[in-house]
C-alpha cells in the first residue's frame, strides 16, 4: 500500500512537471515537483523509501529529459537518503523545519546535479545561484503545502461532514 502510494505520488509529480513545463518554459524551471515528491517520501517514510524513490524518479526523469542517465538518479538518491536519515533523527513536523529541509535538500540536489554534470562533461561547475534559490523556495512552499493537505485535509473533510450532519438534524428538530 505504502509502495503503491509512493509510486503514484512520483508518477503524478512527473506528469505535472512535464505538463507545467509544456505550458510555460520558465515555470518549469522554477519548481522541481519530482524532487519535492522525493523529499516528501523521504520525510514521511524514512531513508530506505527516500533512497528508492529518489533513485527511480531520478532515472526516469533522466531518461525522459535526454541527459546522461544516472546523474539525476544519483543526485536524488543521495538527497532522498540523507533527508530520510535527518527526518528520522530530528522532529520535522512543523512547517518551518520542513521548509528548511525542502530548501536545503533542493540546494544540495542542484549542487550535486551540476557538480556531476561538470565531472562528466569535464568542465567547470555552472551554478546559477539565483535560479537555484528561487527553485528551492518554491519547492519548499509546495512541499509544506503538500504536507498540510495530506495531514489536515482528511480532518477538515470529516469536520465539514459532521457539521453538515449536525446542522441538518437541528433543522429537522425545528
Amino acid at each position: 500500500m505504502k509502495t503503491a502510494a509512493v509510486i503514484a505520488a512520483l508518477a503524478v509529480a512527473l506528469v505535472l512537471q512535464t505538463t507545467l513545463a509544456g505550458l510555460s518554459l520558465a515555470g518549469g524551471t522554477r519548481v522541481n515537483l519530482v524532487l519535492v515528491a522525493v523529499i516528501y517520501v523521504a520525510l514521511a517514510y524514512g531513508p530506505v523509501f527516500g533512497l528508492f524513490a529518489g533513485s527511480a524518479a531520478g532515472l526516469v526523469q533522466d531518461a525522459i529529459a535526454g541527459g546522461t542517465i544516472g546523474i539525476g538518479g544519483l543526485s536524488k538518491t543521495l538527497v532522498g537518503f540523507f533527508v530520510g536519515v535527518l527526518g528520522s533523527q530530528f522532529i520535522v513536523s512543523t512547517p518551518v523545519p520542513r521548509f528548511l529541509m525542502f530548501f536545503g535538500a533542493s540546494m544540495a540536489h542542484e549542487a550535486c546535479f551540476q557538480a556531476l554534470y561538470a565531472l562528466v562533461e569535464s568542465r567547470a561547475i555552472r551554478f546559477d545561484l539565483y535560479g537555484a534559490l528561487i527553485q528551492a523556495v518554491v519547492n519548499g512552499a509546495v512541499g509544506i503545502s503538500a504536507f498540510l493537505v495530506a495531514e489536515r485535509g482528511p480532518d477538515m473533510l470529516q469536520r465539514r461532514d459532521s457539521w453538515r450532519r449536525s446542522s441538518s438534524s437541528v433543522r429537522r428538530r425545528y
Partner: protein, 317 residues
Amino acid sequence: MRDPLVRQSVGFASVRRIPVPGSRIPMLDIRRRTGVLLIVVTVAQLILISAQVQSKSGVPVFQEFTFGVFARIQGGTWGALRSVRDVWSNYVWLRGARAENETLKRQLADLQVQLQQKEALAARSEKLQQLLSLQSATALPTVAAEVIAGNPNPGMLTITIGRGSADGVQADMAVIAPAGVVGRIVGPPAAHAARVQLLIDRNAAAGALIERNRAGGMVVGSDREPPLTMDLVSNMADVKAGDKVIASGVDGIYPKGFAIGWVESSERGSGLYRAITVRPAVDFSSLEEVLVVLVPARSATPEDPVPAPAAPAGTAK
C-alpha cells in the same frame, strides 16, 4: 519478537534509533541495512553513468522504453488539458468575439491584397533567378507537430512533440518555427513522440553566420541572458548589435538561411574571437506548434562543401 532497534528521546528535540546492547540486526532484513543499500544503489548508478561517458551512446533500450511509455501518458495528459482549454476558450471566453471577428475580416481583406502583391513579386523573382541560371531553392519537406510536454528536468531545455518515427521523424532532424530555428531531435524517437533539444539548451550548438557580412561562427546555448552566444567569430569581423544571425548549414542539421536571432551585444574578446550575445528569433516560452524538417542530418545542405566544425551541432560540449 524483540525489536533490535528502539526509539529513544535524546536531548533537545531529537529522536534517535539506538541498538539494544547484545541484540543483532538480521542479515537478510535489507531495510535495516540502509548504509549498504545506499552504497549499492550509488555504485550501480555510477557504473551506469560511467558506461555512458565511455560509449557516448547511453542506454537506448531503457531510454527508448521509458520515453515511449511516458510519451503516451504525456500525450493523454496534454489531450485532456487541451480539451479543458478548448471548452473554456470556445464556449466560455467568447466575450467580444463579434467585434474581433469584424476586425479580423478587415485584416483578412488587407492581407489578401498583400498576398496577391507578394505572389506577383515571387513570380517575378523566380523568373529573374532562372535568368541568372541559379538553382531554385527546393522547399524542404516538413511535418507539423504539436508540443505535448515540456522538460521534466529543470536542468535540461527539451520539449516533447507529438510526432515520431511513424511520421518519418529521425534523430538529429532540425525543428523550426515560423520565426526561425527551434532545435533538433535528440535520442531515438518513439512511434508518436520525439524529444527536441532547444537551441537555448547549454549543450546545444549550431553553425551560424552574420547575414550582413557572412562572418561565420557557432551559436551555442548558455545559462545567461540572452540565452545564446556566438563563438568562433574573429575579432577582425565587423559585427554590430542588431545584425541578423542565420543558420549556415555547415553542421548538416539546420537548413541554411533560417533565422537564429539578432546580435544583442558584440565586444572585442580577450583572445582571437569576439564576445557576441544573441537574442533568439523564436520565443521559446510560447512554443505550441513546430515544424520538423524531414531531411536526415548531414544531407540537409548537400550542396554545401564546407566540412562540419570540430564540435558538431547539439553535441555535448
